[in-house]
């Protein structure tokens, strides 16, 4: 049974001396490390897309680097990184274009930054990266391994440590090999030691002695604050811890010790690794530390990859993204255009269908429409015939004798008529009584006086009025 499919942004890789490959990635904030028996097996996993990784992080051995500690008048690491470029010629006797460098903060003082610079020859870097490139991995982050191990110790023990203090990490890689790394002060100072012995019984004593030596190097104020973090297989870690405790009882200083478990490694082929799997603890720890650093905001400063390479990669990525976006946009526009075209085609075919339904009945229906329009015109023409005569009849019948009409305007409409009357009356009251007089009329019962005024005349006066009536629904 093969390992499950892994898809991640960052993947860390470490090549072991026996040819196996240790891969670590974080998925859903859980670290998973897989051991591949050979480079071919790893390449097969990549080819079959069981491993989908966007960016790779790898480590170079610390012994390949020249480490220098610098005190720079910088406020932050980016400013310090720019200053280091000018300091490089004085640090190494190699032309600037033949070296790469990375830096990390050791300690901070007011207006001063102590940084650790790792300088590496470009040729050496390429030699170290060749095996990775041979298996199809183009790294995006290259860091020296001690920094990765320290980072792992720091992140793993940060929860178990009561207070921040110097950390001495002991990683029991195998029963025959131990990596010991320490920090001086509050910040990283890589100091990796590899001890090996033929007698496993002697080894713990050597380690404890080395821890004591490390403690001795610390300033007095920090000695009792140092924390010893031991990682590795259980029988070795407990052995070292017990030995260290028994030695501490004799000494005046008692240091805090913590045992942390190293990353669990699964095998690609069957999920479970053979009993000698702890031989790859170092590789797993390096890979896990690389992942921790990859997430850090300071990645650009301790990355040993040349800026031109990263720039080239960024440009390549940008170009790819632009092309992808352009292609996606083009496809979207084409799809949208096709949708509109299809919609238009559908409307057109529906229109044609309706037109084909219209064609056979067009002439008959057109003839009916012609007749309908003529009938309507005649109906309008004949509507309200006799209305004017009837209006005159009512005016004659209902208009009182003291009212005389001087002007009459009739505007017949389809369902009624609008009438305007101008006339005279002897009195103002008579003019207004005209409305009452017409109340009995069938058509003109709604007549209204809209204006009336008394006009003086010779020998008296006369009232001139205007009346209006609208006849509806006749």
């Amino acid at each position: 049974m093969k390992a499950r499919k892994i898809r991640t942004d960052w993947g860390a890789l470490s090549l072991a001396h026996d040819g196996s490959v240790v891969f670590c990635a974080q998925q859903n904030s859980t670290l998973s490390c897989i051991r591949f028996d050979s480079a071919e097996q790893f390449m097969e996993a990549i080819k079959s897309r069981r491993l989908l990784v966007k960016k790779w992080a790898v480590a170079v051995p610390r012994r390949s680097c020249i480490l220098k500690s610098l005190a720079l008048p910088a406020s932050d690491l980016s400013e310090a990184a720019r200053m280091i470029e000018f300091e490089l010629p004085s640090l190494v006797p190699v032309p600037l274009e033949e070296v790469v460098y990375g830096c990390t903060v050791l300690s901070k003082q007011p207006n001063m930054l102590n940084v650790l610079v790792c300088i590496l020859k470009l040729n050496t870097l390429n030699q170290h990266l060749k095996p990775y490139r041979d298996i199809g991995v183009e790294p995006h982050l290259v860091i020296f391994d001690s920094l990765a191990i320290q980072s792992w110790f720091n992140s793993t023990s940060s929860t178990s440590r009561a207070a921040p203090g110097p950390l001495i990490g002991v990683l029991v890689n195998t029963s025959r090999s131990v990596v010991l790394t320490s920090v001086k002060g509050n910040f990283h100072k890589g100091n990796e030691l590899t001890l090996s012995g033929t007698d496993t019984a002697i080894l713990p004593r050597e380690i404890v002695q080395e821890i004591s030596n490390q403690l001795e190097e610390l300033p007095d104020i920090l000695k009792n604050k140092a924390v010893i973090v031991i990682a590795g297989t259980e029988n070795h870690t407990s052995q070292i811890r017990n030995l260290f405790h028994s030695k501490s009882r004799d000494a005046t200083v008692a240091n805090e010790t913590a045992v942390v478990s190293s990353p669990e490694i699964t095998c690609y082929t069957n999920g479970k690794c053979e009993p000698d799997a702890d031989t790859h603890v170092l590789e797993a720890v390096v890979a896990a530390g690389l992942l921790d650093l990859a997430k850090s905001s300071n990645v650009p400063f301790f990355n040993l990859l040349p800026q031109e390479y990263l720039g080239r990669f960024r440009r390549k990525t940008l170009l790819f993204n632009c092309l992808f976006a352009a292609l996606a946009l083009l496809m979207s526009i084409s799809f949208f255009w096709l949708c509109l075209w299809a919609m238009n085609r559908r409307i057109e075919s529906k229109s044609n269908r309706i037109a084909s339904q219209i064609a056979p009945i067009e002439s008959i229906a057109g003839n009916v429409d012609k007749k309908r329009q003529r009938v309507r015109a005649i109906q309008n023409q004949l509507a309200n015939r006799g209305l004017i005569t009837q209006i005159f009849q009512e005016l004659y019948e209902y208009t009182p004798n003291n009212i005389s009409i001087s002007e009459l305007r009739i505007l017949p409409e389809r369902s009624g008529a609008s009438i305007e009357i101008k006339g005279q009356a002897d009195l103002l009251s008579s003019a207004f009584e005209y409305t009452d007089a017409m109340r009995e009329a069938a058509l003109l019962k709604q007549i209204q006086i809209v204006n009336a005024q008394q006009i003086p005349r010779l020998g008296g006066s006369v009232v001139e009025f205007q009346a209006r009536c609208v006849i509806r629904d006749h």
Partner: protein
């Protein structure tokens, strides 16, 4: 740092301009023509749908309309060209008022209103005379066999007792012949 920031701003601005120009070009050259065509085709389809619905309604009402039309056809039948129709219309009016004791002040022929299948002739007649004569004219128009109609009537009293001045707008509807309708 300032130069870098400026370059970055300029790049962003350039990218935004390129995106906007590309978007406008795409809209103008690709999307908009299709949208316009869609609007035109939709309008045509809606018109056809309306026409079909109306035609179906016409077919349903065919029998009823044919019945009514057969009754009014003699009243509306065309009798020649526009000039001939006008001439006939004025002659008909003349026949109505010539036997009455009225004074014709003016007869004005108004522009013909042409509808799709018929035309409306209009004449404005001004006359003066005794009220009884004017009322006789109104009655004769309202009972005339052909579909003529008083559209507007203005009456004004004159100084002579029972004498009035009247202004009529009289219309007549005449069918267009097949060739005239086309």
């Amino acid at each position: 740092m300032v130069t870098a920031a400026k370059n970055s701003r300029e790049k962003l601005l350039g990218a935004v301009v390129v995106v906007i120009v590309a978007g406008l070009l795409t809209f103008t050259l690709v999307v908009n023509p299709q949208l316009k065509e869609r609007a035109l085709r939709l309008e045509r389809m809606n018109q056809l749908e309306l026409k079909l619905t109306k035609m179906k309604g016409d077919l349903l009402a065919k029998e009823r309309i044919d019945d009514i039309y057969s009754q009014i056809e003699p009243l509306i039948a065309a009798n020649g060209t526009e000039q001939q129709e006008i001439s006939l219309f004025t002659r008909e009016l003349s026949n109505l008022y010539s036997r009455l004791n009225v004074k014709i002040l003016s007869v004005k022929i108004l522009p013909i209103s042409n509808e799709e299948f018929y035309r409306r002739l209009a004449v404005k007649v001004e006359m003066s005379g005794h009220i009884r004569s004017i009322l006789d004219f109104i009655l004769s128009v309202e009972t005339y066999r052909n579909p003529i109609r008083i559209e507007r009537l203005d009456l004004r009293a004159q100084e002579i007792v029972d004498n009035i001045r009247a202004s009529f707008l009289i219309t007549k509807v005449v069918a267009k012949t097949e060739t005239q309708a086309d």
